[in-house]
């Protein structure tokens, strides 16, 4: 655990990887959804084209606050920081700087910034959307916290690398599998997919927090969401389903990527066959998931 410039460089590599891969993953998911719908769907590289187009379009702003101007970049940066704290085929480059508690709080940062952008834009639709975003966060974060704490209880370490090593070495445990399933359920909402795309809800609040965002700001906020679903999927497969683990980065990363794609394909499948829930239904659902995931904690306590 040495803090050095090398680690920062590795963090940059991680960040670039997430930045470049996340639109591709989103493109694959769109293709998969189109397949279920029996459509042809957009080209796989369409998300890149979307981003490229949006970055050059006129930026219409309703506020000129310093913080409001910086928020979309900070939001994407927070997800890139998260990417440096989460193992991706190798130990996390900034793993010395943050454990699972830091992961939980940094993961919430992009949502916080999105809500602040929403309130800052002044649109009543954005206020409704921001308020919903907060409620979804309130419902989902406890589930994420419980699952990661189960990992810490099993491995005796709060470091992400410590949990990963323990799980890879000591094989599957009931508690970890249960926690992984709970985290998978939370992933659906973290990625903003149906049935939990309540904050955006285009048909009700016209994109909610994003209603006043356009051009490069919209591009960055979209990118944030796509990067976040990729990082969360990595967190899920690396901490809870790390097998087989060779120890070579060159093998482990593609392996993890395949698992991530499988997980995200499942997420897309759930997305495509479900209608949107109301926010109180979503809170009730995640409340039940959080309480059930305490069972994983109980298993961890009795050593299973």
């Amino acid at each position: 655990m040495n803090a050095s410039w090398g680690n920062l460089l590795l963090a940059l590599v991680n960040a670039a990887l997430v930045l470049l891969l996340s639109p591709l993953v989103e493109g694959l998911l769109r293709k998969g959804k189109a397949f279920v719908h029996s459509r042809r769907g957009p080209p796989i590289f369409q998300p890149y084209l979307d981003l490229f187009k949006l970055l050059g379009k006129e930026d219409l702003r309703t506020s000129n606050d310093l913080f409001y101007r910086a928020a979309p970049s900070l939001s994407l940066a927070s997800v890139l920081l998260l990417a440096a704290l989460v193992p991706m085929g190798a130990a996390p480059p900034l793993g010395f700087a943050g454990d699972i508690v830091v992961v939980i709080y940094v993961a919430a940062m992009s949502a916080v910034l999105l809500i602040l952008v929403a309130y800052g834009s002044g649109s009543p639709y954005a206020f409704v959307g921001g308020s919903r975003e907060m409620m979804v966060l309130l419902a989902v974060e406890p589930v994420v916290a419980v699952t990661l704490v189960v990992g810490a209880m099993k491995s005796g370490s709060l470091a992400t690398a410590g949990i990963l090593e323990w799980n890879a070495a000591h094989g599957p445990a009931i508690s970890m599998i249960l926690a992984g399933v709970a985290l998978f359920l939370a992933l659906q909402a973290q990625a903003g997919k149906l049935p939990f795309d309540i904050p955006e809800a285009e048909q009700e609040v016209m994109g909610g927090p994003l209603v006043e965002q356009s051009g490069p700001r919209l591009a960055l906020l979209r990118w944030t969401l796509w990067a976040k679903q990729l990082v969360f999927a990595f967190l899920l497969v690396e901490l809870f389903f790390p097998w087989p683990r060779t120890g070579w980065w060159i093998v482990d990363l593609p392996l993890a990527l395949v698992k991530v794609l499988l997980v995200l394909a499942l997420v897309a499948l759930v997305d495509v066959v479900n209608p949107r829930l109301r926010v109180d239904q979503a809170m009730g659902y995640f409340g039940r998931v959080a309480v059930s995931s305490l069972a994983a904690l109980a298993f961890a306590v009795i050593g299973m």
Partner: protein, 698 residues
């Protein structure tokens, strides 16, 4: 100069300041500056004591004013634990007094003679409480604190709500103090002295011989400190008294006074209770009380639409975190002194952080109050462009209290969670408490996003500039004349901004360099443990276990069981943000245009489309309704003859007045306005006079 001389001169400075500010009280600002000077001088002296204590080790205790017949004496000593609280109180004292100078102009009908002298006396009490080693004088200073702060709560003479809140505060705290006096007397009977060093074996004997009495003593102390700190249900006074006091006093209460409840708790339960199962049991009580309080307090805060009331409920919630930290520490100390001492440090560290951001937030709410004349979040909105500095301070404070890394609130929460989870391998209930605290941290975030969003963002509310506002004080300064959309008002003056700026900078700096204050706190806690239990608990704590490697942040042990390095994380975040901003957002060269908010093409008044603060998170608030039950307490029956005797209105004035009214009515009935009737009266009168004359002379 020794510690004692410095402390005495600090107290003398405060007392002289109190007398002087009373003498010049007719000049409002003059009295304020006298108070600032006195508080500043005392703060410098206090900081010298703090720095000396941490650099050269604590001075030996000195006893002044011995009362041998009573076994009491004013024993003054400052150890590491006291020094931490002294530093917090000194800093908060200066900043809130500085804020008060201009802020109190809001209350033109209330003389500052009932503010500054009492505030300075309050800080004499605070200095006394943290530096005395004698329970008798501890309680004397404690009482001084309660009485002076009561008068600060009822400062606003014409406000009925303030008097009711003040009465509630006074009665609840007096009851709690009486309990502590009883506990002190029980210990004194056992030990024969009030000195902390003799109380420890006394309590140990009592716990062995008469466990019920021993635990009863501890219960009374627990209730006493929990009442002052604001732990529910004992702290039910707090959400009433805090909004009633002037904001500068509220900030001083939140930042300095109520923190002493935690000081007393740590002092008594760490130094008096033997490291044994009794400590673990009381640790559980404290941790559970803290968790209950943070759960109920914060969820209730989410529902508030009054800025100061919202923050007052958050005080209750935040104190819960501190109790949780101290409680977890006490639970773990007997089995794992290292983690235990770290958890206690986490609680105290959270206290320090809370003093920084909560004071800043209260002062920000006060600054908004002076400009808008209202505390209702529904009547604010869009203040961000008008008050940019206050808005910035409020944003940093809100993010800090919500625990957004890398600000200071996160650092203490992180340590609290880390110790709780690692300690939870032995006692799983701790993990549940930690998970509740994590959830509530998000509720805090929601609540302060609501506060920031509805006060500083969005369109301005229609009735902002309507003068005193619904709940503004009667003498409040009216806001500037309204103009459509943007009232012509700027930010508050530099005197009101400076304290907020200093505290906000403190939030950021402590967040980035947490090992500096945390190292001092840990040193204080370990020092106290080493003093009372040198071979047991303190022996198990590795020296330099924390904060010795700035580049690594805080690492629990060599293996890195829990890690948080704020500097690399902040550096990476900043670097990524700059890369994204300049490499992506600006690189494409998109044009920027300012546009009005799009509302589907309708021509609507922005104020009419405002999302009121009551509308935020409605389904969530609905799901947690009823967590704060309102209990109506009937006042106890007062002996009725006494009540009647004390009410002369009822038995003297009102009957007399009624009689006078009846007589004059009877007289008035003769005046009917008809001349013939008056003539008849004259004739009858003349006849009566003639009759009397004839009868008497005839």
């Amino acid at each position: 100069m020794s510690t004692v001389v410095l402390l005495l001169s600090a107290a003398a400075t405060l007392l002289v300041g109190a007398v002087l500010s009373l003498a010049v009280a007719h000049r409002r600002h003059g009295a304020g500056w006298v108070a600032v000077a006195a508080m500043g001088g005392a703060a410098v002296l206090a900081w010298v004591v703090v720095l000396r204590t941490f650099s050269a080790g604590p001075d030996p205790a000195v006893t002044l004013l011995g009362v041998p017949g009573l076994g009491a004496g004013l024993t003054l000593a400052v150890d590491g634990l006291s020094a931490v609280f002294l530093a917090i109180a000194a800093t908060i004292g200066v900043l809130t007094t500085l804020f008060a100078v201009e802020y109190l102009d809001r209350y033109p009908s209330d003389s500052v003679a009932k503010y500054y002298p009492l505030l300075l006396l309050l800080f004499v009490g605070i200095v006394g409480v943290v530096s005395t080693q004698d329970l008798f004088f501890f309680l004397v200073f404690w009482e001084l604190m309660t009485v002076t702060s009561y008068f600060l709560v009822v400062f606003e003479g014409e406000s009925r709500a303030a008097h009711q809140a003040g009465l509630k505060y006074f009665v609840m705290n007096q009851a709690a103090t009486l309990g502590m006096v009883a506990a002190a007397l029980v210990l004194w009977r056992e030990g024969g002295s009030f000195h902390f060093e003799t109380l420890r074996p006394a309590l140990e004997r009592l716990l062995v011989r008469e466990p019920w009495l021993g635990h009863g003593v501890l219960l009374l102390f627990f209730v006493g400190f929990a009442t002052k700190a604001g732990i529910l249900p004992m702290g039910a006074w707090l959400p009433h008294a805090y909004p009633a006091a002037p904001t500068s006093a509220t900030a001083a209460f939140a930042g300095a006074m109520s923190k002493l409840g935690i000081y007393g708790l740590v002092r008594v339960f760490l130094t008096l209770v033997p490291v044994s199962s009794a400590m673990t049991a009381w640790g559980w009580v404290i941790a559970l009380a803290g968790t209950a309080s943070l759960f109920v307090g914060t969820l209730t805060a989410l529902k508030q639409d009054d800025a100061k009331r919202l923050m007052s409920f958050h005080v209750v919630g935040q104190v819960g975190y501190m109790f949780l930290g101290v409680g977890v520490g006490l639970v773990l100390l007997p089995s794992n002194p290292w983690l235990g001492s770290l958890a206690v440090s986490a609680g105290i560290f959270h206290l320090l952080n809370n003093a920084l951001y909560k004071t800043a937030l209260f002062l920000g709410a006060g600054a908004v109050h002076t400009r808008t004349g209202t505390r209702s979040l529904n009547a604010m909105g869009g203040l961000g462009p008008l008050m940019p500095w206050t808005a910035g301070a409020a944003l940093v404070g809100s993010l800090a209290i919500a625990g957004v890394p890398p600000l200071n609130g996160f650092a203490s929460k992180w340590l609290l969670y880390a110790t709780g989870i690692l300690g939870g391998r032995g006692s799983p209930l701790l993990v549940i408490l930690v998970l509740v605290a994590m959830f509530i941290s998000l509720v805090t975030l929601a609540s302060f996003l609501k506060y920031y969003g509805s006060a500083f963002l969005g369109p301005p509310a229609e009735n902002r500039a309507s003068g005193g506002g619904a709940d503004g004080p009667p003498g409040g300064r009216p806001a500037p004349a309204p103009s459509r959309g943007r009232p012509p008002m700027g930010d508050v003056g530099p005197l009101l901004l400076l304290p907020q700026g200093v505290l906000t900078a403190g939030c950021v700096l402590v967040g980035l360099f947490p090992w500096v204050p945390l190292g001092a706190i840990q040193e204080g806690v370990v020092g106290v443990l080493a003093q009372v239990d040198p071979y047991g608990a303190a022996g198990g704590i590795p020296p330099e276990s924390l904060g010795s490697h700035p580049a690594l942040g805080l690492a629990l042990g060599e293996a890195g069981l829990a890690l948080w390095a704020p500097l690399p994380a902040a550096l990476a975040l900043g670097l990524f943000a700059l890369l994204v901003y300049f490499g992506l957002q600006r690189a494409a060269g998109a044009e920027v245009r300012q546009v009005p908010v799009w509302v589907c093409g309708e021509e609507e008044d922005p104020a009419a489309l405002r999302y009121g603060s009551g509308s935020f998170y409605l389904p969530f608030k609905h799901a947690f309704r009823g967590v704060y039950p309102t209990v109506r307490v009937q006042p106890p029956p007062f002996p009725s003859p006494l009540r009647r005797a004390l009410n002369p209105d009822r038995w003297l004035y009102l009957p007399l007045a009624g009689w006078v009214v009846r007589v004059s009515r009877a007289v008035a009935r003769t005046h009917v306005g008809v001349p013939q009737v008056y003539l008849l009266w004259i004739v009858l009168g003349a006849a009566a006079v003639v009759a009397v004359v004839l009868l008497s002379f005839g």
